[in-house]
């Protein structure tokens, strides 16, 4: 009885601490956008919607969210489809050294997503005529995300049983049909997770879209957020906090939608 009570108290404390730790930094996002004189302190705001009004006067804000959506959705679709196909094949057919190969790609992806690869990526996009195109941003970012996506998805695919596929094959299903009707439903929560991960990554990317795009009407939110500063480089907190909130909402909505619709976890509950 006492032991049980102690365990309950311990558990409650644990969750209280975890919830406190994860929610505390978020308070600013809930207060500053509505504050007439936002500072970096989280405080009860002098309530106003004025910040939203002045933000909407900025000609690039709404279009930047649309651009973020386009670039994130494009990259996520590309990453999920290509990674699912590759991960399935790598999981089902033995290729010598495939794990090592995947890991090497993963390592190279860390070079390409860093600052130092800026010039090669820019020159590559120039030569392929991809400067100032959404496609250029999508392909460049997808290239950096694919190895990790394949790496994670292959793990899922390894974890799903092959017996269904064998029976489907006996009934004459083609490999694409097997993938579509048997494997995909099994790993759907995993695909959803990868999609959200890819969207979140693209959503926050600044350097690649910044160097690859010229027309501000194509710039994503991450780039426009960086323009809300003064001549001397001081952040305009009224605009930044408000834009931060607007700019975060689509990702949060997407996560809620995806997790309701497809589930949001790694294996689909199928035991080995």
């Amino acid at each position: 009885m006492t032991r049980h009570a102690l365990a309950t108290i311990g558990r409650a404390t644990f969750f209280a601490v975890v919830l406190g730790f994860f929610s505390l930094p978020l308070l600013w996002l809930a207060s500053a956008p509505f504050d007439a004189h936002p500072s970096i302190t989280t405080s009860l705001p002098e309530f106003t919607f004025g910040n939203f009004r002045s933000l909407l006067d900025n000609p690039y804000v709404m279009s930047s969210l649309r651009n973020s959506l386009l670039q994130a959705a494009g990259s996520a679709a590309l990453v999920v489809v290509l990674a699912a196909l590759a991960a399935y094949a790598l999981s089902r057919v033995r290729v010598p050294g495939r794990d090592a190969l995947l890991y090497v790609l993963l390592l190279l992806s860390s070079v390409v997503t860093g600052t130092a690869a800026m010039v090669p990526l820019f020159e590559l996009a120039t030569r392929l005529n991809l400067i100032d195109t959404h496609l250029g941003v999508i392909l460049t970012l997808s290239g950096g995300l694919l190895p990790a996506a394949i790496f994670i998805l292959k793990d899922f695919m390894d974890g799903t049983p092959t017996s269904y596929e064998e029976s489907a094959r006996v009934f004459g299903a083609s490999p694409l049909q097997i993938l579509r009707h048997i494997v995909i439903p099994l790993v759907r929560p995993g695909l959803a997770t990868i999609a959200v991960w890819a969207v979140a990554n693209v959503w926050g990317s600044f350097l690649q879209p910044f160097i690859l795009l010229r027309d501000p009407d194509k710039s994503p939110g991450a780039v426009i957020l960086y323009t809300l500063y003064t001549e001397g480089g001081a952040p305009r907190l009224d605009l930044i906090s408000t834009f931060s909130l607007l700019y975060s909402l689509p990702v949060v909505v997407m996560y809620v939608f995806v997790s309701r619709r497809y589930g949001f976890r790694f294996h689909g509950g199928i035991k080995r």
Binding site: N58, Y60, L70, L130, L176, I184, T227, Y229, T230
Partner: protein, 455 residues
């Protein structure tokens, strides 16, 4: 799976179609202007002036000459270093806008890299016969000059002074028309302020977190006051006596409670120093005229002070001792400024020059000010507009004649960081000799050996 693939392929094709630029087919010419400004964001005034005044007026003027010209503005509005990276990448791949806004300090490194060419080489002899040259003082023209060649037209310049809070000065028994004649007099004022209970008597930018603000508002004017330029006669200043004097001055301020060492380390330290000055917590602050017209400016400033004109005093930065400054000066300052250059790969270089010189005409310069006072590159415009603002007139009349400029060389930004690190070391308690020795070593490694450094 198939429909998904088809959808992806379709999306890719649509996006690819969106991406290709449109070339006009009606025989008209398109010119592009770029600058680190964006409507609704950083430097919004410049962006709005470009789209609302320059473009329609220039297109109109060209139409009157019977030419169909379209001008586009490509805004940016980000951190200066990121903007620099972007235009460097553009120029490197022989692309980019026709008229490009750059910081004067980048001219040398861009020229050395072959990214930009002298104006007359790009646009021809009409450059030298431009009416504007006679209106731009030689020193200001220097912002766009590298190795005796004119690469760009300067837009304006600025100057650094010591600001002080007259209310706090009164409390400390200091005069409202304070003008220190030596570094010691700054320290004396600081001590009087400290005794009067002012939380931060002196704010002299230090450390790496403040970035170039440390160099321009702190290290370089002090160095000039100690009689040295950071780069002169082909050599860089190393851990010399002048530098040790500068570091010694920092040491005195930050180890005797005259300054707040922590503020120098904070990532947002400079913004905070603005806010603290406006709140009456800082007595003396070294800053550029930017501080006057955009920070404590009563209406639209970052840290507005309603009583700015009455409460904020300004004084020249004194040399270490009278006469100890560069060129034997009693007072010193540092200046910088932006210039506009032509893209050597422009398809219409003559027309691009017409646009560039149009943007620097007296008419355009006046319109860019939109009623606000600011030190432009043209004396004819300055004479007209600066009368309304005594502070900017002070900078134009008193500061610009004694000011100095930074060397426009590619390695300068790294030397600047070395200077910042030296001040940081002193502020955090290292001795002056240690910091100077480390600086000397660092500069030698940056500029290719001891032969290029004076010590």
């Amino acid at each position: 799976m198939r429909p998904v693939l088809a959808a992806v392929a379709g999306a890719v094709l649509v996006l690819a179609a969106c991406g290709t630029g449109s070339e006009s087919s009606d025989g008209s010419v398109t010119l592009i202007i770029t600058s680190n400004a964006i409507s609704g964001g950083k430097n919004a005034e410049t962006a709005d002036w470009t789209t609302r005044w320059v473009i329609p007026e220039f297109e109109k003027e060209q139409k009157a000459k019977g030419r169909q010209v379209h001008v586009l503005f490509q805004p940016s509005g980000v951190d200066d270093e990121q903007y620099k990276t972007k235009i460097a990448l553009d120029l490197k791949s022989h692309a980019g806008a026709d008229v490009i806004d750059v910081d004067g300090i980048w001219v040398g490194e861009f020229a050395q890299a072959g990214y930009i060419k002298p104006l007359s080489e790009v646009a021809g002899p009409e450059v030298d016969s431009w009416e504007g040259w006679s209106q731009i003082p030689k020193a200001v023209q220097g912002l766009g000059i590298f190795e005796d060649k004119k690469y760009g037209l300067p837009q304006g310049t600025d100057g650094r002074v010591l600001y002080f809070n007259k209310d706090l000065f009164k409390k400390a028994g200091l005069p409202a028309d304070w003008q220190p004649k030596s570094w010691q007099e700054i320290l004396d004022a600081g001590n009087a302020l400290k005794a009067a209970g002012v939380p931060v008597p002196i704010q002299l930018n230090a450390g790496t977190a403040m970035g170039e603000a440390t160099t321009m508002q702190g290290a370089l004017p002090l160095l000039a006051g100690a009689g040295a330029q950071i780069w002169a006669d082909g050599k860089w200043t190393g851990g010399s006596q002048a530098l040790k004097d500068v570091l010694g001055f920092y040491h005195q301020i930050y180890t005797t409670g005259l300054g707040d060492p922590k503020l120098q380390q904070e990532a947002q330290g400079r913004d905070k120093s603005f806010a603290q000055f406006a709140e009456g917590k800082i007595g003396i602050l070294a800053e550029g005229d930017y501080f006057w017209r955009a920070v404590v400016e009563p209406k639209a400033g970052v840290a507005p002070m309603q009583n700015r004109d009455a409460a904020v005093g300004y004084a020249l930065i004194p040399s270490e001792r009278p006469g100890s400054g560069i060129r034997g000066q009693d007072f010193v300052s540092m200046s910088g400024g932006a210039v506009r250059v032509l893209n050597p790969n422009s398809k219409n270089p003559k027309l691009a020059w017409e646009l560039l010189s149009f943007m620097h005409s007296a008419k355009a310069t006046t319109s860019q000010l939109a009623g606000a006072a600011r030190i432009t590159s043209r004396t004819d415009v300055n004479d007209e507009v600066l009368g309304v603002d005594p502070m900017l007139k002070f900078v134009s009349d008193e500061v610009l004649p004694i000011t100095a400029y930074r060397p426009p060389l590619a390695v300068y930004p790294e030397v600047s960081v070395a200077l910042q690190e030296a001040t940081a070391a002193v502020v955090s308690g290292k001795t002056v000799d240690e910091a100077a020795a480390a600086y000397q070593q660092k500069v030698e490694s940056l500029v290719g050996g001891a032969a290029n450094v004076t010590s």
